[in-house]
């Protein structure tokens, strides 16, 4: 019998090397999550939606810079300044895409692990449930940050080059260095919690994304209607409005949140801060409790 086992003649060689710590293990899960979200090492159709949204987020920024290059020296700078969106306006545009991006990405991070029984693989490795969940959330955060930051960087650098005063432009807009990441975090905190909870229970990625998109859109409509007719505090169930209010607050540009149920009802932005923190905390607890039963 052993003469047939030629492939085993090489013998199993023991691994004598070093072992890495938990941080490296977490990082491996983060990297895996980023690949999943972006469809890397997957079939082409898995890349279409994430990369389509990324292109949609970045392309206008490139177009804006290109347009500025084209119109430079035409003597219409003041007119164009009103027409061309700045960082805050552009952020207001990309965060709507972020909502779609999170809707599509979150199910990709949680559902295949569960339905393919791969959670067993994670549970039998030197990491805790918290490591796994933090790494999964971390991968989405990384991609969302990149999603919102890259077009802003294009605008920032484009503006710097076109200004003719590279250093002056960069130092004159230092506030963007904290506003943009903070805005991204605010969008993430508002939107990701609910998306993760839905994905923690749904068994199909498409259904999870659909429920999240439906929930967000319907909650906005319901919030508006109930706030108008029943009680103004119903405005707080509009998730997207909280994100708009926070971004408007961070960039100091009220027009971003104009027309939302919250601003229509004159509800303070502090309420949005408290609501977002509460949503994120509740989602974290629910997610942990759900996975404690699974891992």
């Amino acid at each position: 019998m052993s003469s047939e086992g030629a492939i085993f003649d090489l013998d199993y060689r023991r691994y004598e090397g070093e072992r890495t710590g938990r941080a490296k293990v977490r990082w491996a899960i983060v990297r895996d999550g980023v690949r999943k979200v972006l469809g890397l090492r997957r079939k082409a159709r898995r890349k279409v939606l994430p990369w389509g949204l990324i292109i949609l987020a970045v392309l206008p920024a490139i177009a804006i810079v290109g347009f500025q290059v084209f119109t430079q020296g035409l003597g219409a700078d003041e007119l164009l300044e009103d027409l061309i969106p700045g960082h805050a306006d552009y952020f207001g545009f990309t965060y709507q895409l972020t909502f779609l991006f999170i809707a599509l990405a979150t199910p990709e991070l949680l559902i295949p692990d569960r339905v393919s029984n791969v959670l067993t693989v994670y549970a039998s490795r030197p990491l805790t449930l918290l490591d796994y969940l933090l790494a999964r959330v971390g991968s989405l955060l990384m991609v969302v940050l990149a999603f919102t930051l890259i077009p802003q960087i294009v605008l920032y650098l484009g503006g710097a080059v076109l200004s003719g005063d590279l250093v002056g432009h960069l130092t004159g807009n230092l506030d963007l260095l904290w506003k943009i990441p903070t805005g991204s975090l605010a969008v993430f905190a508002t939107q990701a919690g609910v998306a993760f909870i839905i994905s923690a229970y749904a068994r199909r990625r498409g259904i999870a994304a659909g429920i999240y998109i439906g929930f967000t859109i319907i909650s906005g409509g319901v919030a508006f209607g109930l706030a108008e007719t029943v009680n103004r505090w119903f405005a707080i169930i509009d998730l997207q409005a909280h994100a708009s209010v926070l971004i408007a607050e961070i960039f100091g540009q009220e027009n971003i949140a104009e027309g939302t149920a919250l601003t229509e009802q004159g509800i303070s932005s502090w309420v949005s801060i408290i609501a977002v923190v509460a949503i994120a905390a509740a989602a974290s607890v629910l997610l942990y409790r759900r996975y404690r039963k699974l891992m």
């Binding site: 019998m1 052993s2 047939e4 086992g5 492939i7 085993f8 090489l10 013998d11 199993y12 060689r13 023991r14 691994y15 004598e16 090397g17 070093e18 072992r19 890495t20 710590g21 938990r22 490296k24 293990v25 491996a28 899960i29 895996d32 090492r41 997957r42 079939k43 898995r46 295949p112 393919s116 029984n117 791969v118 067993t120 693989v121 994670y122 549970a123 039998s124 490795r125 030197p126 990491l127 805790t128 891992m295």
Partner: protein, 313 residues
């Protein structure tokens, strides 16, 4: 306690009065045993509780009662022990969209192996999957999936290896090769726990058996020793002779014989004392001028042990 066959002298896994229930259903009830280097077969019919016990040993689920330690630590509280543990779960537990190589590499990364590609390459070679490692797992046969799972469990060079029905779907040649591999791992001093409802598999792999029935520990030890412990159940012995009826009649009058049955040209006897029968039979045959062509115990196999455990209780 350590003199019981349920315990080994140099344990790497120690289980003390462990129970697990899911709602009203008791899956494992008050089991105490230990496992040491070498292959131990965890045997039992479907629903006996062996997968639940294995999952508790692998730290995947918390016991409802009792305690266990793996390499001297509780796997539920000290996850670092998983650097030295490998698991081949019963269910598929693979990403179909990954190549076999990438799946094993990822397992190495999760286990904290510093050079995942090299470790993955060795593990893949060990299970004979070099040729298919570059293909996506979704295109694998069940046997190939099983082997890539084994590679994933081996990639961190585990001291303790749990195998839940590891030969599922493997073809006969691969079964032989995997069994050889498990034997080699055991020979290297690793603790290998193999769960299976297939008696033939366990018999080929394990030198020691822990048998479970209805969530309880039904028997432990070497399969022949377990069989010998069933003193109230007679052994069955097959005897082939050239004049079976003559020998059969003579056997009936012997004290060591409980019953004699002659079917076609074969005698089946039941005895409480296998040793005495072995000593008495040649002289009896000689005195009757009967030629013996075969004397063979019929139920020293695990199957008979298992049959007694399941149906005899």
């Amino acid at each position: 306690m350590t003199t019981s066959p349920a315990f080994v002298s140099n344990p790497t896994i120690e289980i003390a009065e462990i129970s697990k229930w899911f709602g009203q259903k008791v899956a494992v009830s008050n089991v105490s045993c230990s496992f040491g280097p070498g292959i131990t077969g965890l045997l039992g019919p479907n629903g006996a509780g062996k997968t639940t016990l294995l999952r508790m040993m692998a730290g995947l689920i918390q016991p409802s009662r009792g305690s266990l330690s793996v390499l001297g630590t509780n796997p539920r509280s000290d996850t670092a022990v998983f650097q030295k543990v490998g698991l081949v779960p019963e269910d598929d537990a693979v990403y179909g969209f990954l190549t076999g190589r990438r799946f094993v590499e990822y397992g190495a990364e999760l286990a904290g192996v510093r050079n995942p590609s090299s470790a993955a390459a060795h593990a893949i070679t060990a299970v004979g999957m070099d040729d298919a490692a570059g293909r996506r797992i979704e295109g694998y046969s069940k046997g190939m999936r099983q082997r890539i799972k084994v590679a994933g469990a081996l990639v961190n060079d585990p001291e303790v290896l749990y195998l839940d029905e590891p030969l599922n779907g493997a073809d006969p040649v691969q079964r032989v090769r995997l069994i050889e591999l498990f034997h080699r791992l055991a020979d290297e001093g690793r603790t290998v726990v193999v769960s299976s409802p297939v008696l033939e598999e366990v018999e080929k792999m394990a030198t020691r058996v822990i048998a479970m029935v209805d969530g309880r520990l039904a028997a432990a030890g070497d399969s022949a020793a377990i069989r010998a412990a069933f003193t109230d159940i007679p052994y069955r012995v097959r005897i082939d002779a050239d004049v079976p009826r003559k020998l059969g009649s003579a056997l009936l009058s012997q004290d060591v014989i409980r019953s004699v049955e002659v079917i076609d040209q074969t005698i089946h006897v039941q005895t409480d004392d296998l040793g005495n029968l072995g000593r008495m039979l040649p002289s009896l045959a000689q005195s009757l001028d009967v030629r013996l062509t075969l004397v063979q115990p019929e139920d020293l196999s695990l199957e008979s042990v298992f049959r007694y455990l399941v149906h005899g209780r």
